[in-house]
Symmetry: C2
Subunit: 121 residues, 2 copies
């Protein structure tokens, strides 16, 4: 079935970004050309160590984030960056999300009933 035939399929909503915690992580990183440290990111997103690690792994596996591990003095320190690919794909995701939001807002306003063939009540 094509997207035109299933107008509410939302195939463009990349599941990697369309998850609450990851949306927060990526938004936090998007404005940071020099990246963010693990503990700053944890605080900004209100996540536990375990949850942040798990979601960063998903983002790294997708090629959207890089994790640079090193030391800050004697303490281990991880700096997280959004990759170019991650930035491009996130921008594309936001475009789709914007369309979804417009469609949903029209629907909740009760005006999105044109051109849809449905069985009468």
């Amino acid at each position: 079935m094509t997207r035109a035939e299933a107008p509410f399929a939302y195939d463009g909503l990349d599941r990697v970004f369309h998850e609450r915690a990851r949306l927060g992580i990526v938004t936090s990183l998007a404005g940071r050309a020099d990246g963010l440290g693990f503990s700053d990111l944890k605080a900004l997103c209100g996540l536990t160590d375990g949850n942040l690690s798990r979601h960063l792994q998903v983002l790294e596996d997708a090629g959207f984030v890089t994790l640079d591990k090193g030391y800050d003095g004697k303490r281990p320190f991880t700096r997280c960056h959004l990759t170019e690919t991650g930035r491009d794909r996130f921008a594309a995701y936001l475009d789709v999300l914007s369309d979804v939001l417009k469609k949903a807002s029209r629907a909740t306003a009760g005006s999105d009933t044109a051109n849809l063939k449905v069985r009468p009540a």
Copy 2:
């Protein structure tokens, strides 16, 4: 941690709505005061029978959707409606989503770096 302290926690993004298939289902239903039949909903959202059933169950359990089962002639027929609660909660979700989108768009434009204390690079 309060929301103000974790600005990217997005606690208001209800997980019931913030899932790609359910977002399509609820948007489809939002514009339909008289609901939609199961097969119309399946076509609009590009879902299989199994997936649609599973997601409708999550929405029904949350009290956001009602499923009226009956017969269309001799064929079993299920009509799906958004409840008042579902409609109200979806409107609230869309408000949060709109804020998220604004924040993310600002961040990808590179201007969302004010007022955040971070460790220098």
